[in-house]
């Protein structure tokens, strides 16, 4: 990518170190507090506050609504914090057999998908990242293009295949289908992790006569674990949040995932709007993901960074 800065222009500036220091400090921290400065600062902090409120408010609102007694929920004007707190809605969620079954189904499917994708993906990524074989580049391109595959393009034919194999409305069927988006992603990400490791790492082991698989297991794997944890979390989030396949390939409570259940969730109450219970269900479905993301947030941001820089 070309930079549109003229290097000559930058080089031609003749300034002494002390002058430069002065400029630098005046540029980075404005010690003077004149009115425009203060207004700028106030504006800046207002903007920051707006960003935080904008990103967090909807989830805050879901939590507040899920804790508000039904009578307080449907009042005008809206109250921004609860006057009294109730756990009734959570009780409704956790005693709803269908929803609990869906939570279990989602957990089973997501964990299985992650384990399978990580197992197959690590082997494939090791070969693609560290071994030399003909056709490697073609395989890499194939995997990369698979990461951008639109699910809707294969929905119908998958439906037919699943019916033929008796996989329709089963959890194992869903696990296999979810590999369409988790496996290429896992292989691609882990390949890049393996490639980024210095070449010298397993050379010594190989010179000493270790087999490539030993080199993978003893030397590369321990170093790849942080990358694998992040990849596993991202694959888990994708599987947990998936909706289109789950909507299409499940029919009964025995295989419905939590996203389908929550979209159809009405709660037990027949005569009132189910919003509060729905919000409680929404919080229950989201909290596991948020905990995971907060635990590895630095790595996720670093991953995003690397992705963008690649340009």
């Amino acid at each position: 990518m070309s930079m549109s800065i003229e290097p000559n222009r930058i080089n031609s500036i003749q300034t002494s170190e002390s002058e430069l220091e002065q400029i630098r400090s005046s540029y980075t921290k404005s010690s003077k507090s004149s009115l425009p400065d203060i207004l700028g600062k106030v504006g800046f902090w207002l903007l920051i506050a707006f960003i935080v409120v904008y990103t967090l408010f909807p989830f805050y609102w879901a939590i507040v609504s899920s804790l508000t007694p039904t009578n307080d929920l449907f009042v005008t004007p809206v109250r921004f914090w609860p006057q009294s707190v109730t756990l009734d809605h959570y009780r409704t969620v956790f005693t709803d057999g269908g929803f609990m079954r869906a939570l279990l189904n989602s957990a089973i499917v997501s964990f299985s998908v992650v384990v399978l994708a990580l197992l197959l993906g690590t082997l494939g990524a090791y070969a693609l990242g560290r071994l030399h074989f003909r056709g490697r580049t073609v395989v890499l391109y194939l995997i990369l293009s698979m990461t951008m595959f639109p699910a809707i393009a294969i929905l119908g034919s998958l439906f037919q295949m699943m019916q033929n194999f008796g996989a329709y409305n089963t959890l194992w069927g869903l696990v296999i289908v979810y590999l369409t988006f988790t496996l290429p992603f896992t292989v691609w990400v882990l390949t890049n992790f393996f490639r980024a490791m210095p070449a010298e790492l397993e050379q010594a082991a190989l010179v000493d006569g270790a087999t490539p698989m030993r080199a993978l297991w003893d030397i590369l794997m321990p170093l790849a674990i942080p990358g694998m944890v992040t990849t596993a979390l991202l694959a888990f989030i994708a599987a947990w949040s998936e909706y289109l396949y789950a909507r299409t390939f499940t029919l009964t409570n025995s295989s419905k995932t939590v996203q389908v259940a929550i979209a159809d969730f009405t709660g037990n109450q027949q005569f009132e709007l189910p919003f509060a219970v729905r919000m409680a269900a929404a919080v229950v479905v989201t909290v596991p993901l948020l905990v995971g993301v907060l635990l590895v947030q630095k790595r996720i941001i670093a991953g995003l960074t690397a992705g963008a820089v690649k340009g």
Binding site: I23, F133, I154, N192, A199, P212
Partner: protein, 323 residues
Amino acid sequence: MEPDISAVEVRPATPRTSEKKRFSAWSGPKTAVGRQQERLGWLLVLPSLIVVFAVAIYPLFETFRLSFTNQRLASVREVRNVGWENYTSLFEDDLWWTAMRNTIIFTVSSVTIEAVLGMVVALTIHSAFRGRGLVRTSMLVPWAIPTVVSSLLWDWMLNDRYGVINSIFIRLGLMADDRNFSWITNRGTAMIAVVAIDVWKTTPFMALLILAGLQIIPGDVYEAAYVDGASKWQQFWQMTLPLVKPALLVALIFRTMDSFRVFDLIYVLKQGSTDTMTVAIYTYQLLIQSSRLGAGSAAAVFIFVCIGLMVFGYSRLITVEEN
């Protein structure tokens, strides 16, 4: 593919070690050891390749094949080839073009707003301030919330009588106190509502990507511009924007592909309502709800080709690896 995942490709930077050096531990393919490596390489890749072929590539070919037949789901009717009939009837269907128009409106407006807002947010967060880490963390929240859940959150917030959004608008005096305006069910505003939800969910992600691009711009570039007396505005247009362009472009293309195949966000709120029907929803209804596998496959092929063209554009921007 589920939008969330492609949105966060974790891609460690391209390694600095050259190909030659990286593989210097291995002998060439002509030696016995080299042949062994070659075998091992294929052996390790094979399981992944088999899965990808079985659940993605084969079904894709099936979709192509089915798009030329009159196949129905779970039907014993005799299947016959119908040539291009599915495609011609697709292109004659007004609903398909409505869906296409909606999809394009949704894609262009959400991606544009996300790019502009994302840039503003990224530039704001780029400056050093106390609590910056916390702000960045908070920005991961909308991204981590499942799409279905975020639709439901906003469905409640946009509720006509008891929704918090209408309440805020009334307090600000932007809306009359009749409290009955339903953003999602009203035909004129439904699209605005779904774009707003998508913007909320994805702008933070866009901002983080742009921020990553901003962070690799060396600081002395700005010092030089400052010495030269360039205004902040000039700095932005003539330095920041060109330098952050690669990161922005990658983010834009990813978002465009994701928006084009949008399904969950809208389907949860509006199902097949024509005012917000997208091409993915149209195809879903044809394939699954009407069981018209052949006709639906033609629509699916069309979507695949559109996204394929976008991927092609994307692949020209990045380099995988060249031996």
